[in-house]
């Protein structure tokens, strides 16, 4: 209320209109981004709560904290919520929604109503999933493997499958909006070679969303149809092939990993340039690597199925292709590192997340080589090694990128600064807690502990205790930002338009921006990350 009556405050997208209706019926991409931020955070903490339950159960070898069925439901809901309702929408729907139109110099996304519809679809899908969760749960694992999901599970498979199906359209709408916006709404002078890498990454992500998501939608629809209508597409009793489900499922769900990591890579490119005051090293390679990852990412899905009973020869083809997709990721890591060279490096919180991201993503990526290696994958697949690997990519990579981006753009989004020392502390906690949680899982995985085990042989206990201890630290690292971000909304220092002195169109407008972002359409005459020019003008100002 206090802020509302301040007469001097400039009109911005936050105070342009008041009331619940002005939020729920908004077509402003920035307000929708905030709606997403709230709902994604909500799902993150639900998913995180399940993660804590998993870690507590695994503290002891015996299945003593909860029943086996409960445990199965807990890890399933952890996976379903984190993958479909947190990781996939996190960066695109929050940061992407907020920034893509501003970065292209537009007043909004191409289809604002569809953007709002996508949030409603997300909420309906999420609501259905939560309903399924409260009302009996789901125990198939987030992978919905048939015939367990179609025939043997007596939990809410259909409800959750339809929830994820609906959520899929939310993702499609977001992706569609991004592609059209980046193609058609760019400001004059903003050529493809001048696009910030954040946009390249989101473009690649959107391509995957548009091409991949429909396949998982139809696949889950088939699972629901098999349960509800007794259609028998995957039914082994009729001669149906359970592996067909896996093919269709992974056709989306492998590229979905890139939906999670590519936007984070985009964030990192923005951050690393800003805090080393430099143009990104090898712009073209980093940009094309995003597209390369998106395209090749569609050719590798069956590496999830090397022991599943697919043909030996197909396995070799997919293993080969999987190695090709490793290359663009490696290129990115090298280029980010090289960007530091001869920079003028600052250690603000977002940069700490950059360092964390590069380190953890390197380990995550390298362990991916283990899993693409046919002969070795046979041993480590379906063990905690895989669990550790994909958490290094998704938590160590995607969430690090998300948090880094959130800290970087928080002043722009809210117009407030967060307390820097608390933020640094929690970045450190996240890094330490993360490694303590997931590094032991590599070891216990190679020892042979299968994933999704409610009870396990006692010799794996020490490593599991370490992991649980790390998870507690990690949880604190995640709760801190939640608290100080909320605190900053009211008590944080007012943020200037460009607190980091960063390049990019979003920093040329006030914090928070006005409803239509730009008073007049900007004309872009510079390359992305023109920190040389920025440094010069800054010097001139100081001198003047």
């Amino acid at each position: 209320m206090a802020t509302a009556v301040q007469p001097v405050e400039k009109t911005n997208y936050l105070n342009a209109d008041y009331g619940i209706k002005s939020w729920l019926l908004t077509t402003d991409h920035k307000r929708i981004a905030l709606l997403y931020l709230a709902s994604v955070t909500f799902f993150f903490f639900i998913g995180g709560f399940f993660a804590m339950l998993i870690r507590l159960e695994l503290l002891t070898p015996a299945g003593d904290l909860m029943q086996a069925d409960t445990y199965n439901k807990v890890f399933t809901m952890h996976g379903v919520i984190m993958v479909f309702f947190f990781l996939i929408p996190s960066i695109p729907a929050v940061l992407g929604n907020f920034l893509v139109p501003i970065m292209v110099g537009a007043k909004d996304l191409a289809f604002p109503k569809i953007n709002l519809a996508s949030w409603y679809l997300y909420m309906i899908g999420g609501g259905l999933t939560l309903y399924g969760l409260i009302n009996g749960g789901l125990d198939t694992g987030w992978t919905f493997y048939t015939p367990f999901s179609t025939t043997y599970s007596n939990t809410n498979v259909s409800i959750v499958a339809i929830g994820v199906f609906i959520n899929g359209f939310s993702s499609i709408f977001t992706g569609l909006n991004f592609i059209v916006t980046i193609h058609r709404m760019r400001a004059p002078g903003l050529t493809w070679s001048r696009l910030p890498l954040f946009l390249w990454a989101h473009y690649a992500t959107a391509v995957i969303m548009v091409l991949g998501t429909p396949v998982i939608a139809i696949t889950l629809l088939l699972v629901a149809a098999e349960r509800l209508l007794h259609l028998g597409i995957f039914d082994a009793k009729l001669g149906g092939d359970p592996l067909l489900f896996q093919h269709l499922f992974w056709f989306y769900s492998h590229p979905a990993v890139y939906i999670m990591i590519l936007p984070a890579m985009g964030v990192i490119s923005e951050l690393v340039t800003c805090f080393s005051r430099k143009r990104v090293f090898g712009y073209n390679f980093v940009a094309l690597a995003s597209i390369g990852i998106a395209v090749i990412g569609f050719l590798v899905w069956a590496h999830h199925m090397f022991v599943a009973g697919i043909s030996v020869y197909a396995a070799m083809v997919f293993s080969f292709l999987s190695y090709l997709v490793a290359i663009p990721s490696a290129i990115k890591v090298f280029n980010w590192t090289a960007t530091l060279y001869k920079g003028s490096i600052r250690f603000d919180t977002p940069m700490l997340y950059v360092f964390g991201f590069i380190g953890l993503f390197t380990i995550g990526g390298m362990t991916g080589l283990f899993l693409a290696a046919l002969g070795l994958d046979v041993h480590v697949t379906d063990t905690y090694f895989v669990v550790a690997h994909f958490h290094y990519i998704m938590v160590g990579g995607a969430i690090m990128g998300y948090l880094g981006g959130l800290h970087f753009w928080w002043p722009k989004i809210t117009g407030r600064m967060y307390p820097e020392s608390w933020a640094k502390l929690s970045a450190l906690l996240v890094f330490v807690g993360f490694n303590l949680t997931f590094f032991p899982q590599f070891v216990v995985g190679f020892l042979g502990m299968p994933r999704r085990y409610h009870a396990y042989p006692p010799e794996y206990q020490i490593l599991n205790i370490l992991s649980t201890a790390g998870a507690s630290v990690l949880a604190i690292g995640y709760i801190f930002p939640m608290i100080y971000f909320a605190w900053s909304l009211r008590y944080g220092k007012k943020a200037p338009a460009n607190p980091w002195n960063a390049a990019g169109l979003e920093w040329t407008i006030p914090s928070p921006p006005s409803t239509f972002n730009f008073d007049e359409t900007p004309v872009v005459t510079w390359e992305a990350y023109n920190y040389d020019e920025i440094e010069e003008t800054q010097e001139a100002e100081v001198v003047g």
């Binding site: 367990f148 009793k237 143009r279 090898g282 190695y323 250690f347 002969g375 006692p458």
Partner: protein, 366 residues
């Protein structure tokens, strides 16, 4: 809290000395897998440390305080090519190395002894050719190639023995296979590695590797006949012998010597008569019809358990190598419910023909 303490005191301390960081190595495959693993661990260390050191050195050397003004560097094609081509080369080496191991582990060597496995929620059933049947424990001899022929009665399971570094999913509706040669006697973990429902983590067991002599003794003690003889009983019980006679007069193909041969199908294709084919021909007889026969056999889907199926398969296989009695002609064919004579001269071999001769000559094309 007190629970944790209790556990630490009881279980934790008890197992503290037994705190492995590396799984036991008990098969011929394990060494190959571990070599690749160590190579990759070293590679990961080299790259991660290089990147981490690179970041640390650059971040300290070019920190704002020391380098107040950045110097712009555009990029370098030479560098880009270097860090594209070198990783590509390294990954290709890994690919070929790993593919070679995979090829090794997916092709059972000649002379492997066979053990049948049936996975069901939530137990492993093993059936040895000698007739021993066991649940959740698998006895195998040391130093001998063992090929597991596996199927599932319900959902997907996965046969995983960490000490052997091998794993294969077990699917409903078909047979999958995995092989190993144990190199160390002992008891090893057997896990189900594919999530299969409530008691997934209870679907565990042990692989007991025994000296060959001990194994021989174990295998022969207290069985009521071999797996094939169990299958023979089932063969009689389900009336298979009515049609599948050991001569040319049956309404169904003569099964003697069938296993492993090329079979000419009604639609002109040929295929190798393996376990999956035999199983399918019992479950869905119409799916693949041997040339010269009619689609008259009823389906046994839902009537035969996977364990009986395994025995039947073992019996049909044994028919080929003279280790089982050929099916005795039981009933008078005229009592049969189904049409009597094959519509063409049966093209299956007569029982006394040489085993090694293919039942049908391979078509010249394939």
């Amino acid at each position: 809290m007190s629970r944790t303490q209790k556990v630490l005191e009881q279980d934790g301390l008890r197992y503290m000395p037994n705190f492995p960081l590396f799984p036991e190595r008990a098969s011929t495959l394990a060494g190959h897998v571990d070599a690749l693993y160590f190579f990759l661990v070293a590679l990961t260390l080299v790259f991660s440390v290089a990147i981490a050191l690179g970041i640390a050195i650059l971040a300290i050397r070019y920190r704002k305080e020391r380098q107040p003004k950045p110097i712009q560097v555009e990029g370098s094609l030479a560098l880009e090519l270097t860090w594209t081509i070198i990783p590509l080369g390294i990954t290709m080496v890994i690919f070929i190395w790993a593919a070679a191991i995979y090829f090794y582990e997916t092709r059972p060597p000649k002379g492997a002894m066979e053990v049948y496995a049936v996975g069901k929620q939530w137990m492993w059933k093993f059936e040895h050719v000698e007739g021993q049947r066991e649940i959740n424990t698998l006895h195998v001899p040391l130093g001998r190639d063992v090929r597991m022929i596996m199927t599932s009665q319900d959902v997907i399971h996965s046969f995983f023995v960490p000490a052997f570094r091998t794993k294969a999913d077990v699917l409903p509706g078909r047979y999958t296979s995995v092989w190993f040669r144990a190199t160390k006697t002992g008891r090893y973990h057997l896990f189900c590695a594919e999530y299969c429902g409530t008691q997934h983590s209870g679907m565990i067991g042990e692989v007991v590797v025994m000296d060959p002599a001990d194994y021989q003794q174990w295998a022969q003690s207290g069985t009521d006949g071999s797996l094939a003889s169990f299958g023979e009983k089932a063969f009689q019980q389900y009336g298979c012998a009515m049609c599948h006679r050991a001569d040319t007069q049956g309404r169904g193909p003569n099964l003697v010597g069938l296993y492993g041969k090329q079979v000419l199908l009604d639609d002109g294709r040929t295929l190798s008569a393996d376990e999956t084919y035999i199983r399918e021909s019992i479950m869905n007889p119409g799916a693949k019809i041997a040339s010269g026969f009619k689609n008259i056999m009823p389906t046994f889907e839902g009537q035969i358990s996977e364990e009986e199926m395994v025995a039947l398969v073992a019996y049909v296989k044994a028919l080929g190598n003279g280790m089982a009695n050929p099916p005795a002609p039981v009933a008078n064919p005229d009592n049969g419910v189904y049409p009597v004579t094959p519509n063409k001269e049966p093209s299956m071999a007569a029982p006394n023909q040489q085993k090694s001769a293919p039942i049908q000559p391979k078509p010249s094309g394939k």
